[in-house]
Subunit: 422 residues, 2 copies
Amino acid sequence: MQIEIICTGDEVLTGKIVNTNFSYITQKLEDVGLGVRWGTTIGDDRETLLAAFLHAAERADAVIVNGGLGPTVDDLSQEIAARAAGVELVLSEDWLGRMEEFFRRRSRVMSPNNKKQAMLPATAEILDNPIGTACGFAMDIGQARFFFTPGVPRELRRMLEEQIIPRLLARSGAPTAIRLKRFHSYGLGESHVDALLAGVEELVSDGSAKLGFRAHYPQIETKVTVRGANDDDIARKLSPVIAEIRKRLGNFILAEDDDTLEGVILDRLAATQGSLAVVEMYTSGLIASRLAPLPGAEAVFRRGLVSRDLGEIQAALGPAAGADAEVTKEAAENVAKAMRRASRASHALAVLIDLDEGPDRIDFGGTICIGIATEGETESRRSRILGGREWVRLGAVELGLDCLRRFLFGLPVAERIDFERN
Amino acid sequence: MQIEIICTGDEVLTGKIVNTNFSYITQKLEDVGLGVRWGTTIGDDRETLLAAFLHAAERADAVIVNGGLGPTVDDLSQEIAARAAGVELVLSEDWLGRMEEFFRRRSRVMSPNNKKQAMLPATAEILDNPIGTACGFAMDIGQARFFFTPGVPRELRRMLEEQIIPRLLARSGAPTAIRLKRFHSYGLGESHVDALLAGVEELVSDGSAKLGFRAHYPQIETKVTVRGANDDDIARKLSPVIAEIRKRLGNFILAEDDDTLEGVILDRLAATQGSLAVVEMYTSGLIASRLAPLPGAEAVFRRGLVSRDLGEIQAALGPAAGADAEVTKEAAENVAKAMRRASRASHALAVLIDLDEGPDRIDFGGTICIGIATEGETESRRSRILGGREWVRLGAVELGLDCLRRFLFGLPVAERIDFERN
């Protein structure tokens, strides 16, 4: 099935906003095994919209149009859809009623121009939007089925998932029962993960398992989709694949599905009535900002201390923090121990960095020393990361959090990662 | 002049990476008064590429193609460009020599498949890429001039600015001398800024001044472009516009051009041999992470303290921090004073937040109390922001930094902003 996406709107076309809806849609379709072949971005202009709709109507089997369903004069999707299909715009009493209800529930008055949002092409099938006033709809133009979606990301996301993907899967003829399983890892590069997982797809003999990756430094996401006749069939096929991926990526898997590294750490600490204090140098608060704002973190995240200067950290924590002049594993352990005592947290993490001198450049690096302390234990590791100031900083945030995860789960803290140099 | 952009690559098409190059290109063109009419996104597939090139060649005067110039087999731009124009691919000895030099300077060996990057359509004009091995080039296909650019963002950016925009401006027939002036503000919504600046364009009587906005919450960027016969002409026209914008937006302008809020604060502190300590609650390290990693900040940013709990902050700072049980202006002042003394910094900023209870929602809010202390002075303000957990957090970061900027420059710290509620 040939699928195209048309993103509309002057703000997207002129770069006022970065078009994250496009990558969201294509990714979600990829996740269920539907490939997108062509993307078009155009402004709020009648002739251009019409040309884009007609082009896509000739080439594609299905077209997702994003944007242009709002109440203002530059929202043109319904009008041009009707023109492209050669049908009239008709007031949908159904949608008008839902909009009136929408405003009533929020004790707001519907402005007259909202009525425009209920004017739909005569042949349109409504796609429900339970969280907004923009009416999604589907209709045929030329040989293609068009799906019109709102530009507001959360409305688009819900409509895509609940309304559009099931319809696309039904049209594609592929088994519509499909499941996506995701693994998040840190410390292995994409090609390394790819190599480690060679042959995993073949564990499902009918070819219905598909493996994919998405790198967002420093993490790699590994995705597996499996299709089947029904949920039981899928669960049966997926089970050995999941077991094998867990075995091969082992300690490097930091979370699965919607879980996150910081969420896993927080949950583990909460489950053991633990608490955490953090000392940061060049990561400068990014570690704290991953953990501390999470719901529930107020009971776990006790305290964070940030300074670019080791002496200042020692001054803040008092004599127990030691007087090491250099960033070393020992210095990191001493700082973590002192922070734990000062904050009365069950765990303390210190991420110290000795940054290279000179201007930013591709081989600019930093030496990272991580210390973890509990009442009875300390742990540390040293690592060197190259790749520019921001690369080092982001790498150190992830390394620090991942060392803490490993410590909390009893895994080796100092396992070698692909990103470090000697 | 009709301009189109074609972005190529499976990673962009499948949403593996968000296409920031597209918005970068269109924005840069908008900044010099060149509008883009049509954007196309396609994968690394010969037939699709050819179709996209031929479509654009019929419709447009100029086309910028991004990606597909690399050394691997899925990099197809040169090959398909040659096919679309009906010319041969020819080895460019010129570019091959430059590539060899590129590798020599970096003491690296050029792999044989890099040679592919020097195979160019026979009619191509080289567009220099001083920082990479992908050769940019320009050529005619159909009625349009095509500009082929690398997918690596920093290579694209430099080529666009130095090679392509001057050529496009020359082709457009518009006066090629143009200047972009930017103002960054915080505290006024986009429509408010727009209303405040009504009529400013008309200060340039020949219509060569153009105003635009870009909102990236919580900041708004105001852009003015002016065209002219030469630099003097532009400077003469721009001067009253700049003066008027500064007057109308006044204290809300936090920085101009490439300057940033955090950079302005850092520079001001550095210029007065000042130093800074920060206390954060729900912003959780984001304020520290804006300031502390900047080059030069090691001499200015002294210490940051993060905790979700006011009592914990007071415990960390000792009796001088007071014993206020609630987040108030007084509590913020007390905390700032104690932090300043503990860190021996010249300035301390405390951003305390009393967050609403319950699940995240659109009217979820927080009450923000900001305290600033120097040896002889204290200042504070209270503000309430609604809009969900992340919205409150990002708003509080900006509000805290902006209050500090205002304090450092002797401006009123408590001026009302559009984002706050009572």
